[in-house]
Symmetry: C2
Subunit: 395 residues, 2 copies
């Protein structure tokens, strides 16, 4: 398992020690091909679906138990986010196949496409599998970049066939995902396994602030309508709003794109990426309304929601199973919400789903400094193995 993890970490490695495998990029496709080879070596039937999800399946009777995560990363992200869950899930399925345990239920390991939303919105692959992808997802794009449909075509996929990725829910028994925590809680408690109770909802917005392009050498500063100056003020105000809000809301301005972006031209347009997260839908609505009112203060400015990812409680049945397995193995656990979004929240809207966290050093993620000691991976993987085995033989 560790060798596989390291082989994946080498694909898309950046000079600063991070990993860049944007969804559908050559690096991401290479990682999928490597994982597909391992799945075949483990005796699984392997296929890519119409959304670019990679699926390895061991047949059985009744609905399938699915273990999933993703192999794509944010730009210059870490090696653990996503890849660890795919490697651990593959290990679990392979062990169960080899040990002839759990041969009642079909078992699947899935590497989801574009969990990070590099081209439009996150959890694209799982949303396609659960029938949640519409045309706006395919036409969507990041500011100044290609739409997702064009990116998919570049990776050899035909976006109009996206509906073929959809799975029948009757064929699906449960979904499990192991993932790094990406926060500081488990490390600070000294507990090796987190059991996720719910996943926060996420709203993402693009805010467009207009200005007027002028020659910067001949137009007095006081006479300008400078889109970047207004955007800079908005960044400050959004930060102050988040600092004043109760602990149930978190947010980010992750990028600003300036047009025309030349040294000697007064900025004519700034586009801000704004994200809010909360376990409470009402808090997300309040934040969205506040953002709309902020934007309304700037004539001509617009705000558009590009993603509404609903929060999702995890399955009480599966969470109890994970707890009882951990107890029997003598592994300490901590129940906690997830501030990060995951494919598990998409699955959880349709199928009983559960998530395990392993500790992140310093709570750092989406960064080259992302790290989990290998001895901190094993307890989580053990709980996952035994829970899936118990569920597969119980049915």
């Amino acid at each position: 398992m560790r060798e596989r993890f390291q082989a994946l970490a080498a694909i898309g490695k950046t000079p600063g020690g991070g990993v860049t495998r944007l969804a559908f990029s050559p690096a991401a496709l290479q990682a999928h091909r490597l994982a597909a080879r391992w799945m075949e070596e483990a005796g699984l039937r392997v296929r890519d679906d119409a959304a670019g999800n990679l699926i390895g399946r061991r047949e059985g009777t009744g609905p399938a138990i699915v273990i999933g995560s993703h192999l794509d990363t944010v730009p210059d992200g870490g090696a653990f986010d996503g890849a660890l869950g795919v490697v651990a899930g593959l290990e679990v399925v392979q062990r169960l196949v080899e040990e002839k345990r759990g041969d009642a239920s079909p078992l699947e390991i899935v590497a989801h496409a574009d969990e990070e939303g590099s081209h439009h919105a996150g959890t694209f692959g799982s949303r396609a599998m659960l029938g949640e992808v519409g045309e706006e997802d395919l036409l969507g794009h990041q500011p100044g970049r290609e739409p997702l449909a064009a990116v998919m075509r570049g990776a050899g996929l035909e976006p109009t066939r996206i509906g073929q990725a959809r799975r029948e829910r009757t064929g699906l028994r449960a979904y499990f995902e192991l993932h790094i925590e990406q926060g500081p809680v488990l490390e600070s408690l000294g507990i090796p396994v987190g059991i996720v109770t719910s996943i926060v909802g996420i709203d993402q917005y693009l805010v467009r602030v207009p200005g007027q392009a002028r020659h910067a050498g001949t137009t007095p500063v006081a006479a300008r309508d400078d889109a970047l100056v207004k955007a800079a003020r908005a960044i400050q105000v959004i930060r102050e709003f988040l600092l004043m809000r109760p602990a149930d809301l978190i947010g980010n301005v992750g990028s600003v794109s300036v047009s025309p972006g030349a040294m000697n031209v007064v900025p004519a347009e700034a586009i801000l990426s704004v994200e809010f997260r909360s376990a409470r839908a009402s808090s997300l609505d309040e934040a969205g309304n506040w953002l709309v009112s902020l934007v309304a203060e700037h004539p001509g400015a617009t705000v558009r929601r590009t993603l509404r990812e609903h929060g999702c409680p995890m399955s009480a049945e599966l969470t109890a199973l994970l707890e009882s397995v951990a107890r029997s193995l003598g592994i300490a656990t901590h129940q906690m919400p997830s501030g990060a979004g995951h494919d598990a929240q998409v699955w959880g809207r349709h199928v009983p789903a559960a998530m395990l966290f392993v500790p992140s050093r310093g709570g750092i993620s989406h960064s080259p400094e992302e790290w989990t000691d290998w001895e901190d991976v094993i307890p989580g993987a053990d709980v996952l193995l035994n829970a899936v085995a118990a569920l597969a033989t119980a049915d």
Copy 2:
């Protein structure tokens, strides 16, 4: 002349009515090819030099009189900035060739490469012709883009041969440039022709503000080191500095580039483009020192000067010639400094140089709204024609 101007304006036209002909782009090269055809039709000997400057020459005896401007634009800029001077200059040379006037001096019309500095620093082509380009110009690049040398290779030029573009000063008698004012002065005075007394100096800087990449869903806002939040503050502070300075300094923050730039990652790096302009070298030094002290307040932040374009007085001899020609034609003029940089300031450091301005509606430039009524072009072109004719026959 007007038909030629309109043919050029159609090359690189944007949906919003602007023009994008970034230096060395297919659109810019297409504009050069069209101008080259006109130069050949006018009976000129035409060549591209090693820097990508397009030169049309009518031979004669003694040093040459050069008329120049440029055909590249800023992103989504206007149709007049640069192109008007090339079209007017070509018209002047063609008339003098056809009318067999001024056959004593060689005459040249030059479309300079990369005046706007789309790839590194401005007035690249004229600096190459006057021997001011060093290796750092070729390795320089805009944040996140290719270095100039790679862009040149993409346009079929070999950057290591840049030295071949250099001209002997003994072969150069005078330089003239007609350009739109890009400011509101001539329009507000109701005067059709500006005669430029001096051109401001320009210093350009890249400021790098570091932060720490963190998962934005799991890292509390108060605990972040957010590069974009710090950059937003710097943008405000730079604006306040410029508003408080005496009228001899102007500046701009034209772009900010954010890494990694994802919705769900705390920004780890922001790079700001900062420009200062002044006719006084001491004011530029003060502004640069102030910027260094601002950057010093942020641990790990760096500032690098990417361009120092010295200001330049225009030739008193040629300015007097323009004044006297205008007076004899009954055309009112206004003497004024130029807040914008031009190839004329590079020429002016080596060769007697002069500039004519024609009015810009609303003072707008570097924008799709850039406009000069055609009747406002004619007086400036007449002054240019008669001044060049007088100089060519006087020697």
